[in-house]
């Protein structure tokens, strides 16, 4: 069980955090891993804070509870930083990945002294440039793959092509944009020094 990676997603209803967690589970599954991908269902409304989870391991996963001490946290909407304790239980040897344009000083205050690594990406910019619309989940999916190194980036990109073909079978015109969003996001995610 020692190699199990636990990830917690924070987003708002409608931003696709749940979908992103399921796509991440899919991608890891395709590299031969054991996976869990599950949202925490609450009163779901567009814009309400939601949480989703991933466990990824090379041996079978037996535990069935939410994740309280994640290795990584992904924040899909930076307005959550003020209302949700996103770093709660987050391991210091882990990292947090945030969709934001905020700088180091501002984030330090919002992250309540979290001592681990902090990565940021402007997922809005990536999404607008590649998809022409604001869908932050695809860039955030790429960002967490890059930061957590749970799989080889080239393998991930190749695999996602297949996943998008399946997911967007009825909207094939968005596949190319999503692929571009992934590739751009892999380059854009940066550690805050």
């Amino acid at each position: 069980m020692s190699d199990m990676i636990e990830i917690r997603w924070h987003g708002r209803g409608g931003q696709g955090a749940k979908t992103a967690s399921l796509l991440l589970a899919d991608a890891a599954f395709n590299t031969g891993k054991y996976i869990q991908g599950f949202p925490e269902y609450g009163p779901e409304r567009m814009g309400a804070p939601i949480t989703a989870y991933n466990r990824i391991s090379s041996s079978p996963i037996r535990i069935h509870s939410n994740i309280y001490e994640p290795d990584y946290v992904v924040v899909v909407d930076d307005t959550l930083l003020e209302s949700v304790d996103v770093t709660s239980g987050l391991k210091e040897e882990g990292a947090i990945v945030i969709n934001t344009t905020k700088g180091k000083d501002e984030l330090e205050k919002l992250l309540k002294g979290y001592k681990g690594k902090v990565y940021t990406i402007d997922a809005r910019k990536v999404s607008m440039e590649t998809l022409g619309k604001y869908f932050p989940n695809t860039p955030m999916l790429a960002a967490i793959v890059k930061v957590s190194k749970i799989m080889n980036e080239d393998e991930f990109v190749k695999d996602m092509q297949g996943s998008f073909k399946h997911k967007f079978a009825k909207k094939p015109e968005v596949i190319e944009g999503n692929m571009k969003a992934l590739e751009l996001a892999l380059k854009e995610v940066k550690e805050i020094q």
Partner: protein
């Protein structure tokens, strides 16, 4: 050697139903089981099954349609949760007393009220003595496997009882996890064709189904139902043996996890068993002899076998994911303690009600139960047997 896949528990149940390809499915949507009839209806629409799908207007009608179909000689299935099962209540008893081997996928959820859509076992517990076989599933894999085995058990001539396969709402029903599926043709061969001995559409043997049954015979008919339930134990094990030959996956009436040499143990059902296994392993590393008894077959309750495998322990905790409002403990707790008493086993045993209405159950909480048991095992007698786990005190 199986198909490696990743599916949610609901997808797993719907896939099993697709491979079983029953004659009739009648269902009404209710969270968290909604996806099962939803996926199944697409299989019907795509021509992947040749099932008659009946989109009924309520769960009472869903069970009524299943009863009608089975009585006519067809194989029928349904899926539901919580209040959906409550609305079936009248027909649940009629299905079992007419000895119709209907198979249900029950995705466990708290029964209202107040309204809650999340997991506990209050729905299954409400019908625990209604004459349905109840099999619980820790994972999506078990929810799938148990459904594949279900018809062979229910339709056996010594059983002829309806059967429900339970899994935890959201916790497994909506979590994507690895699963090993069987090939369609293997499932078809394993499940076999349904040839009931007596059925309404048999023009060579006109029969009546469900006539009045008064003082002269009802007692004997209830006895026959009870006998059928007792017979089910043997049949469940026989079917599990065949299933193991096909898949390598071994199933019993329950699963003993590091129980042989354990001194303290937890008894529980469904997904909490997985979390408990994790804790058992970590406690073993610290030298604490913890174990788990995961009940798979809850009805019929394997009372003799349960008492026997718990007999060597110093203390036992039984976890109930349903509050029995009776002042004397949860249903599984009273079943286990009654089994021990009847079989002359005297092991200090306490009950914990936990996880009500979707309250998450963590490894830390499970560990706290084992820590309690370490203390309990030093005493001759449990002083406070009716306990709670994860209940906020303020």
């Amino acid at each position: 050697m199986g198909i490696r896949e990743r599916l949610s528990g609901n997808e797993a149940a719907a896939t099993a139903m697709k491979q079983i390809n029953p004659d009739v499915v009648a269902a009404f949507p209710i969270t968290p089981s909604t996806e099962i009839p939803q996926y199944f209806s697409t299989f019907v629409d795509n021509g992947q099954v040749d099932t008659e799908f009946v989109a009924v207007e309520s769960e009472h009608s869903a069970m009524s349609a299943c009863i009608g179909a089975e009585a006519a000689g067809a194989r029928a299935m349904t899926a539901t949760s919580a209040n959906g099962l409550s609305l079936m209540w009248e027909m649940i008893y009629i299905a079992s007393s007419l000895r119709l081997p209907i198979v249900m996928s029950l995705v466990n959820r708290a029964v209202s009220g107040p309204l809650n859509i999340h997991n506990d076992h209050s729905d299954a517990m409400g019908v625990r003595d209604s004459g349905w076989i109840q099999i619980f599933s820790e994972t999506n894999q078990e929810a799938y496997d148990n459904l594949i085995m279900a018809h062979r058990i229910a339709e056996n001539k010594d059983v002829l009882l309806p059967l429900m396969v339970c899994q935890d709402g959201f916790i497994t029903s909506h979590s994507i996890e690895n699963i090993e599926l069987l090939e369609d043709e293997k499932v078809k061969e394993f499940v076999g064709e349904y040839h009931p001995a007596h059925y309404l559409l048999n023009k060579k043997e006109p029969i009546a189904v469900g006539p009045m049954d008064l003082q002269a015979y009802l007692f004997e008919h209830k006895y026959q139902q009870a006998e059928a339930m007792r017979n089910a134990k043997k049949v469940i094990l026989e079917v599990a043996k065949d299933f193991e030959k096909m898949t390598g996956r071994k199933y019993g009436l329950f699963e003993e996890y590091r129980l042989d040499d354990a001194e303290i143990a937890i008894v529980c059902m469904n997904s909490t068993a997985g979390t408990t296994k994790e804790v058992v392993d970590s406690l073993r590393e610290k030298g604490i002899k913890a174990g788990l008894l995961k009940i798979r077959v809850y009805r019929p309750f394997p009372e003799e076998e349960v008492a026997k495998v718990l007999s060597h322990l110093k203390a036992v905790a039984v976890l109930d994911k349903a509050e029995s409002l009776n002042g004397a403990g949860g249903a599984l707790f009273t079943d286990v303690t009654s089994a021990m008493q009847v079989n002359g086993i005297n092991v200090p045993t306490c009950g914990y009600v936990y996880g009500i209405g979707g309250r998450d159950t963590t490894t830390k909480e499970i560990e706290s139960v084992f820590n309690d048991l370490v203390e309990d095992s030093k005493k001759d007698r449990i002083e406070n047997p009716y306990r709670y786990l994860g209940l906020r005190k303020e």
